[in-house]
Symmetry: C2
Amino acid sequence: MKEIQEARIKRYFIDACKEIIRGEGVNSVSVRTIAERAGYSFATLYNYFKDIKELFIICVDEFLLESEEFIISRNIKSTGKQAILDKSIAFTMFFLQYPSIFKLVFTEDIRELRSQTTFKDKLDGIFSNLLSSDWNELVIENKKIKEELIKNTIYSSLLLYLNRFSPKEYKTFIDSITQQIKYILSFDDI
Amino acid sequence: MKEIQEARIKRYFIDACKEIIRGEGVNSVSVRTIAERAGYSFATLYNYFKDIKELFIICVDEFLLESEEFIISRNIKSTGKQAILDKSIAFTMFFLQYPSIFKLVFTEDIRELRSQTTFKDKLDGIFSNLLSSDWNELVIENKKIKEELIKNTIYSSLLLYLNRFSPKEYKTFIDSITQQIKYILSFDDI
DNA sequence: TTACAAAAATTAACAACGTTAATAATATTA
DNA sequence: TAATATTATTAACGTTGTTAATTTTTGTAA
């Protein structure tokens, strides 16, 4: 009973934080803005979270889950290589929609080593879940390293596009990712 | 004469900033710590830079040049594919040596669109300069997209390793990059 | 219901941040 | 030497994350 109430209040803070990031952006997020939206004083946050980074880590986890749900909700009908490409682009789109989510998830300084160690596992899990059936359809080699190359292409392209404004044009950005993924998938064709 | 003196004082601030980033790390950098090391009051910085981001952008540019010099200084003797691999690893090593430099160059929030637009051009220029002769030795196709894949592999791997502590082991990290670059270079072999 | 103890939430306060305005110190020129 | 322009400094503001002290609320026993 005590735990339920505590979880409920934690939820208010988590949702407030996520809302601000989605709306005003990660630069508008602060202990005070979060608490205000949650309906509490800023100091109350510290009764439920060790510090603001602990809250951020929870948001990172939930945003990652949302990215997976986002791709599933797109109901992609294609199969094989085309499905891998489509889902990769969908994943990219999720972060394009909310650049601040990318910033929080990938670049924000949240060094909570306990949770951090599994970050990449979670990321890998998303791709693994989404793409495993598509990979199985294909008769190609080195699927694992191909998936790694695709992921790195996406992360790096998002980093440069959202953080360093390169390329300037959206179309150039998408075309570049598409071309690279297609190229990766074209290797070792049997 | 006026310009020389002004450039000289700007240099004090730039060098102070770079020193702190190399030494104590980017988290220790502030208007006050920079000015203190430069031998001036914190407000003096604003007589020479619009804001701290303008100073950061200059440091980003200089660190990028340093990364190129670092690779050249390694005096890599290999040729062809091996040279491309060796230089790629050397580039990675530069940022491993100073994680804060990676943070500043790739993830820090320095939205000065004027200068930002050419950031990727500078990055591309480094690789282009260093690798062009090595590429010329090779009789393979799609050199441009291969170089892009290699760069994205490096940036993304550094991002996850330095920012999200994945993988945990240094050796795993280097092996993964090496394997991916070798794989990219193995395509289209003639 | 009343009195007390435990829990939760709030206000006050601190040090550090980037930045600007007002002031002091220094150079330059007449 | 006196007046002016330039450069540097201190004071101050609003914001940040965080902690301590304090108030408010909740739960329990008489």
